[in-house]
Symmetry: C2
Subunit: 194 residues, 2 copies
Amino acid sequence: MNRARAFDPSTALGQVVDLFASKGYSETSMEDIVQATGVSRYGLYGTFGNKRELFEQALEQYAEGMGKRSFLRLLEPGASLDHIRSIFEERVADMCSPDQNKGCLFIHTAMELAPQDEELRGVLQRLMKRMSKAFSIGLDSAKGRGEVGKDVDVDAAGEMLTSTMFGLVVLGRTGFPKKTLDAIVDSMLNGLKA
Amino acid sequence: MNRARAFDPSTALGQVVDLFASKGYSETSMEDIVQATGVSRYGLYGTFGNKRELFEQALEQYAEGMGKRSFLRLLEPGASLDHIRSIFEERVADMCSPDQNKGCLFIHTAMELAPQDEELRGVLQRLMKRMSKAFSIGLDSAKGRGEVGKDVDVDAAGEMLTSTMFGLVVLGRTGFPKKTLDAIVDSMLNGLKA
DNA sequence: TCAGAAACAGAATAGCTATTCTGATTAAGT
DNA sequence: ACTTAATCAGAATAGCTATTCTGTTTCTGA
């Protein structure tokens, strides 16, 4: 009996992810979202709730996408230090691509919302832990291959990689060239080598 | 002939720094600033210009304060790896103190303003380069003391420390405990050891 | 003491924001 | 074809924002 929805929630959410990732929460207006997605206010509020709830769903989809695109490879057997390096190289390439202003939904959430929003802070902790854990598993695998020093604490090192990746995004946003970001990745990974 | 100003611009600017550092640019309203400083709108606009210009001056004062408080020690002869470690430990302690929501003006600037504001992006690049340079000088000194591996590129490593410090702030903001941040610092510094 | 220039507190303005509301439109089931 | 309930585009609302304006107060120099 009812009229069909004129948009696909998942692809719309994908466009919302891009907006939030590049401009953050408060600098992205619902009007921006209406324009970018082509979805009416009615549709947005009806299917996603308010802006805060929409953001939370965007954050989850962002993390899932990043997980599948980047971190899944670390969980497979035989993961090497080069797999880890490739994740960083792709992130650096992303940050230095001239077409868009890429960002990071994790950092925006941490800086804009986490201190005041306990629930979102919990979500973010869970997502970041998952990211560090993936790094740790990859490091442990690389350690088994003799690529990572035996004295390296892979749990701590996984968290360190997460931390440095965020720093890379911050530096990329302030316009540092690819060369600089590449050198940082090298420096970080050199410290882990066997 | 003129009436005397009823506030000290430098201390007012210091309070503005704290506000911007904890909440960022757009989440800090001029009303917040009026309340926190006790300075009238008239006084703020008259002495600092508009919000954007006030922010720029706050950023410069923030960097200068951080330089004097933390990084100056690295430029003195005999700087050691422990001096570098102490800077990170103090930053971690700051992020984990329960009384306030400490933040980082550099990260806020990078995420909120740098992509759209070319001038501010240039300012931020200069300030971050100064920070990395201080780390590099400290590392070189520590290298001379035999505390840092001979194969370590201190220029790249200095930028890596800057990057990781930003990551620490991001993790601190999302509520990770001191233990986690300490482990990251250890992991990072272990990779530099001789 | 007094003139005057600058600083003050706070009202006024203009514009943007998230959210809700409204009347028109759509498409399915009967 | 008609009913019906949900969707749509966009207007309306309420509240916040940065900035400017206004009338008053204050202090300094003559």
